[in-house]
Symmetry: C2
Amino acid sequence: MSDTQHLSTGSKKPIFPDDGVLKLYSMRFCPYAHRVHLVLDAKNVPHHDTYINLREKPEWFLQVSSSSKVPALELVKEPGNPVLIESLIICDYLDEKYPEVPLYPKDPLKKAQEKILIERFGQFITAFYRLVLHENPAQLRDTDLYAGLDIYEEELGKRGTEFFGGSKPGMLDYMIWPWCERFASLKFSMGDGYELNPERFGSLLKWRDLMLQDRAVKCFYLDGQTHNKYMSSRRAGNADYNMLYNEAKRAKLE
Amino acid sequence: MSDTQHLSTGSKKPIFPDDGVLKLYSMRFCPYAHRVHLVLDAKNVPHHDTYINLREKPEWFLQVSSSSKVPALELVKEPGNPVLIESLIICDYLDEKYPEVPLYPKDPLKKAQEKILIERFGQFITAFYRLVLHENPAQLRDTDLYAGLDIYEEELGKRGTEFFGGSKPGMLDYMIWPWCERFASLKFSMGDGYELNPERFGSLLKWRDLMLQDRAVKCFYLDGQTHNKYMSSRRAGNADYNMLYNEAKRAKLE
């Protein structure tokens, strides 16, 4: 794994070899950037990663991407070094540009249905953040959180396959995974009740265990406790982007 | 043009011939549904239109589309009569399914760049609604409104083509058009100042005049005064969906 130091205001732009390899601008705990890492890794597309401190962005980053958002993908082989933004647009681009490991179904209707399911996952995402960013989450009801997963449980049961993509994860699997991985952080912040009920979510629980064995998922995986530690820092208004970098540095010194 | 009566609670589901033709569920003044009309008309794809009263939705509409949102496109030739929702997903589907009149560039990078420009138009859409739905719009500044158009003016100038799509409108042209058409309603609700400044928006003004001559745009066009009349009813909390239908009925009786 690459160096996860997040670069800040005043930093120098990192220099990578002139090798035509894609440059991904990311933040280690950003679930939208996570989507792009998953697709790049699933398709074995080499990439140089640069992590950005989103509170104190480097001046040079605004020149890379006018929106100064992550994820941003710089296509260094294309004339003018164009930069793509928006996780879903980047992932769709990667699926068209690197078709050797296709992630969408070929059939336009099936592809559109996958996109609708990716879009509808927004209900879960909204409920998830309402919970984890709330100062007093115990006051909130978690009804919306679980309701947002019901259609995926039903859909997976109906398909009868291991993954939404069939025998291998597809675009839908990877686009919803970042928040499913982070679900495991809830029991640390909210208490033991925050587990998926095996009676209600039998298919999704099996899916989760299979996803955890997927190579691309493993490449960028963090456990629930680590996600929770980052989310706690963010909730406290002091997002600790360099948490992993500093831990690794301390471990080296010891 | 089809009958624009909007069906309400208690209505019967309209029966169309068993001809395999797509069924589009729409609302005559909905800019998102407008996008789908434009793409269907640009591609000459036949469709049966059903207009829905969004405040008092027909009971049968919930069975057609579980989200009960418009636009919704029912694919009657496909097994199980699947229904697609979300304007951009529907339009992307139509572009893949009916490739004879392609609306996106073939090159994955250029396609992704069009999608980013479609996505970024959200800034204008947000500013537009903030203005037209505000009870006292005179209190608001319109800075964001014009700022949201600057990148399109610049982009069109850079491309040097008549349309964003080249010599014919493409997906970007059609996806932003519904709100550009509605821009002409502002001078009726807000006063004469709401015109695009020819010095700042020279390319976009030429583009607007050319778009107004496009066949697909003409098929579903309404003038600024009509859009304003509908928006006024919506602002007053009493969206007059059947405004055009009732006017046509009255005209017949006279």
